[in-house]
Point group: C2
Chain length 333, copies 2
């Protein structure tokens, strides 16, 4: 049997899975993203990851028909990344870098949110939607636009760059612009907004107090990658929101206002059947959608006001599935 | 030989052309748009228009293989319009209304900006662009998004509704929302902004004085549909702009800021090779593009900053060509 490896490089961690060509997930793993000044460390880490991963699974390299790599940036020719600000990458031929390290294995590179969209369309709950928009809320905000069953890549690889829709204001973004949506709707954007709210009332300690309590309650059962700390992260904000915290509620309203308004813009361009919300922030669940829907309905064109919103059914694995899908040579030329 | 009729219904006038199936324009005509309370008068006018048009051209009705009708609203199933606020239409089966009046002639209905996009792609200078966005600046603002050579229609017929992108502010739009782009970037929007500027300084008479002078200079040579009047319309604003009028310049800057920012949003979604600017306002020519490009570049994602802008080569006839193209049964199912 032939296998493929799907790799999803995020700003915080690298997720990888071994899948059959039919899309069955055999094994998965996750390592932290090591970001050096040039971002080259990642390629060494990927080589080690793939070799160890195959070894642990008892698979020979010959059984591997390809590797798909999803990256958080615009991709040209399914090989070359045109800047990933969150990884300190400029223009880099990722396929070449990996082919040099893992000779003989075909490599295909694609945008991470496009990968997530393909993943959801392949193995998620969105298998029926011919027209959908995938939104990944992680370290940044990504988007994958599917029209007639195919991801729109754009003339310069910039289609679906929903995180860089102008959402107002002048907060500088890693991309060089100001006021990009991902400064408000990503995990880091949510933490940034919470810190700003907290700065207005430094005596308020609700969110971090709740986080510390929850951490104690878990009595040592700490989720992987979520070591106890007093960082005001997006998870802490949404946990506090569920507990009725008023500051978290203000942050969620700002988040929803920016994201809902931006997705109403997206609907004016491609008018999808469904918006699928994925990425780490989507772990907060259905409660997110209520904050997005209201401003969305306010600004969406009348025919699109009732467009459906769903949480990604593959959760944070959608990108891994989609990268594996691409590695199966399923992308049209 | 077989012919088709392409009809482009605008908020101000109805344009029509007789074309061969190869896209050669044999004859064209234009009548004012008659807007009653229900908008039904238009169908009677269209029937008379087609009959007289064929008669004048010496063609039998049997030589007509179809009629394409472009309308300024979202269209479902190539027959039914889901509201045209600028025509006072609700949900209307336009194909049925016309089939009842012109029995035996196949009718296809499509969105006007989508028609303009098909027209430019068929017979305009954009025949090579597989990925383009057409923007029509007329009574309203329309958009046609072409991905891989095909217009994106959207799940609910709302794709390419660029005129209803949220551009800020709370000016009410005919569509029911507030702050829509067409309140700033359409011919009527431009006139509205000029009137607001003028209200700030009622003693200023530059634009209308220039218009009156130009009208006198033309010594009776009045362009069809442009009878002498003292209305502060978009043409007067752009004529004054070319003569260096400072008020017209402020209006053009506001126009460009709103449109350029909105098109940067569009580029984040579909990343076209080229934006083609058509519709009545585009008669102002290349000078428009300078006002659009600067804010576009400021807000566009880095890979799309150098995307080309062009004035539609078919000018205001693009919609007629595209409607004729659709009538040739060239639209995929």
């Amino acid at each position: 049997m032939q296998y493929v490896v799907g790799i999803d490089i995020g700003g915080t961690s690298i997720k990888a899975g071994i899948l059959t060509e039919e899309g069955e997930l055999i094994a998965k793993t996750e390592i932290p993203t090591r970001k050096g000044p040039e971002g080259q460390e990642i390629f060494e880490d990927l080589k080690c990851l793939v070799e160890k991963f195959l070894g642990d699974a008892g698979l020979e390299q010959e059984t591997l028909s390809g590797i798909g790599i999803a990256v958080p940036g615009a991709v040209r020719g399914r090989r070359v990344v045109n800047r990933c600000a969150n990884l300190n990458w400029g223009i880099i031929d990722v396929a070449e870098a990996m082919e040099a390290r893992l000779p003989g294995i075909p490599i295909v590179v694609l945008n991470d949110a496009n990968a997530a969209a393909y993943g959801e369309a392949w193995k998620g709950s969105q298998q029926v939607a011919r027209n959908m928009v995938m939104v990944t809320l992680g370290t940044g905000v990504g988007g994958g636009v599917i029209v007639d069953g195919k991801v729109v890549e754009g003339a310069f690889g910039g289609a679906g760059e929903i995180g860089h829709l102008y959402a107002g204001g002048d907060v500088p973004c890693n991309c060089g612009n100001r006021g990009c949506l991902e400064k408000y709707a990503s995990a880091t954007g949510i933490a940034r907004m919470a810190a700003l709210e907290l700065a207005k009332d430094p005596s308020y300690d609700g969110i971090l107090r709740r986080k510390a309590e929850a951490s104690r309650d878990a009595s040592g059962k700490v989720e992987k990658g979520d070591e106890p700390n007093n960082r005001l992260d997006a998870k802490a904000v949404f946990d506090a929101l569920k507990a009725g915290d008023p500051l978290a509620q203000r942050v969620a309203e700002d988040f929803g206002e920016k994201l809902g308004t931006a997705l109403a813009q997206v609907a004016c361009v491609v008018d999808p059947e469904v918006f699928v919300i994925g990425g780490g922030v989507s772990k907060a669940g259905e409660c997110l959608l209520d904050y997005i829907r209201k401003p969305y309905r306010e600004h969406a064109f009348h025919v699109s006001k009732d467009t459906e919103f769903r949480i990604a059914s593959l959760g944070n694995d959608a990108g891994t599935y989609g990268a594996a899908w691409a590695a199966c040579n399923r992308m049209e030329p």
